[in-house]
């Protein structure tokens, strides 16, 4: 036991191997975390949510809601009687838009952006339309998918 024959690994080399191994293990774990991070996460199916009764919206009455990310959404009745849930955060730089009932348009006061009644960008700096959320009406109850 006292000699270190060439066929056997020396104690120092063994220690170095162990250290290297543990360090490699740490690197491997970091790799697992890194790669795992990049793998897409399964999509959570979001249910439509009860908001109010049908008769509580319309004739000028609107409801202000918040979606899951905290963004403002407005539930309103369109000209054809259908309900619409539309995000009211301007797609330019994030100010809140206002609905101008007389012109049936959305106005953003910050940089004079305008959207039409469906939320499409018409005038000013905004380019992308206002986001729309699916609305269903069941038995007089209004449900909105606020994902």
């Amino acid at each position: 036991m006292s000699d270190e024959s060439p066929a056997r690994v020396s104690r120092r080399a063994a220690l170095r191997l162990l250290v290297g191994g543990v360090a490699a293990g740490a690197a491997a774990m970091a790799g697992v975390v890194g790669v795992g991070f990049l793998y897409p996460v399964p999509k959570v199916e979001v249910k439509p949510r009860f908001i109010c009764l049908r008769h509580q919206v319309g004739d000028g009455k609107t409801l202000e809601l918040l979606d899951d990310d905290g963004r403002k959404v407005m539930l309103m009745e369109q000209a054809d009687g259908e309900l619409m849930a539309i995000g009211t955060t301007c797609t330019h730089l994030g100010c809140s838009v206002f609905y101008r009932a007389d012109e049936q348009k959305f106005e953003c006061p910050c940089h004079n952006g305008w959207f039409d009644a469906q939320g499409n960008a018409t005038d000013g700096p905004p380019e992308r339309p206002l986001p729309r959320y699916p609305v269903t009406v069941r038995d007089g109850k209004v449900f909105v998918k606020l994902a």
Partner: protein, 359 residues
């Protein structure tokens, strides 16, 4: 592995490892075997950590005012290990600034900028500037209220620089005010330009260090002690001794960062709304002292003072050599180091203002 394969690899990659070892290696004084001599290396390795975590974050981040916050929220709440990685990146940034500061403190205390080493020093100050720039652009990308107002306030400071201020501000914001292209600019700076600049300046910094060799200890007694230690223990080489020391301390720091990331993860703020100004807007902690100073000396004067202080820091080796050292010799007969006093005083003011601003 079969002998033939190894032989082929050695022929294809004709690297003389031993030669490389010798060229890259360097004998260090035994006095450098203290943990406070590792700080610079740790700061550099922390950049590696930031680059690695940052690279991963970049896979999900989107640099547009409307979607930036949502992408950060996705990373923080939905992506696997996202909260952990973002927290490591966040804590790592603070630690990098801390270790840079510590390294600067050490070099200042040991007056390593003397003996014609002003090149090393200036590259170092450049690295400090780039690191602070990286830190700033980093949290400007988050897209919450702090980000927005940080960009706006900083753009106003940039705009207050005499002569070139107006142009600089436009360049900074990609326009006259915060617009769609501003975040993209911050992103390009944070992910491409500044890291490249940092790596370039690090190379310059290390080149200077290697060319000059380490600043050896001062007095004859020190030199004798050094010789004795070398005689007893052999030389202290960069490879493997100092490299391993730096790796060990870096791993330790990385572990601490990970534990902090677990115990105190980042939290989601509120998406920025240009129409809303929060009550108490403050920059990140490392800017507290400057922020406080700008409150004391407001407006353009404050910006000018900051610039002058930066210039003074950059040219410190010369200030030290041509102004302070003669004062030392004349007034104190070499028994007092004015440079040290100035350094201590500056550090004290920095700390006091930071603490005051924190409350």
């Amino acid at each position: 592995m079969p002998r033939r394969v190894i032989d082929e690899l050695l022929e294809a990659f004709p690297i003389d490892v031993q030669d490389l070892y010798e060229k890259a290696g360097e004998s260090l004084p035994h006095s450098a075997k203290r943990w406070w001599w590792c700080w610079g290396g740790i700061a550099g390795l922390l950049f590696g950590l930031q680059a690695a975590t940052g690279l991963l974050l970049a896979f999900y981040y989107r640099a547009e005012p409307g979607t930036a916050f949502e992408s950060i929220r996705y990373i923080t709440e939905d992506a696997r290990f996202g909260l952990f990685l973002r927290s490591v990146h966040n804590w790592g940034a603070s630690f990098m600034v801390v270790f840079l500061g510590l390294h600067m403190l050490r070099t200042f205390m040991t007056a390593s900028f003397r003996e014609h080493r002003w090149g090393t020093w200036m590259a170092g100050v450049g690295l400090l500037g780039v690191t602070l720039g990286l830190a700033f652009t980093g949290y400007a990308l988050v897209g919450d209220t702090v980000s927005y107002w940080a960009i706006v306030v900083t753009s106003n400071i940039v705009g207050a620089v005499p002569l070139i201020g107006g142009l600089a501000k436009q360049l900074f914001l990609a326009g006259d005010s915060f617009n769609q292209a501003t975040l993209s600019r911050m992103y390009a700076l944070h992910v491409q330009i500044m890291p490249a600049a940092l790596m370039g300046v690090v190379l310059v910094h290390l080149m200077f260090v290697r060319l000059h060799g380490m600043h050896k200890p001062g007095t004859q007694a020190d030199l004798d002690a050094e010789a004795a230690e070398t005689a007893e223990k052999g030389s202290h080489e960069f490879f493997p001794d100092h490299a391993i020391a730096e790796s060990a301390s870096f791993l330790y720091v990385a572990l601490v960062i990970m534990l902090l990331a677990l115990a105190f993860p980042v939290a989601m703020g509120l998406p920025f709304d240009p129409a809303v100004t929060p009550e108490h807007i403050k920059p990140e902690w490392y800017f507290y002292a400057v922020f406080h100073m700008l409150k004391l000396v407001p407006g353009q004067m404050g910006v000018v003072v900051t610039l002058l202080l930066g210039v003074a820091l950059f040219f410190w080796p010369f200030i030290d050599q041509y102004i302070l050292q003669p004062i030392d010799r004349a007034l104190f007969k070499g028994r007092l180091e004015t440079s040290l006093l100035v350094g201590m005083a500056t550090l004290a003011v920095f700390l006091i203002w930071s603490v005051v601003e924190a409350y």
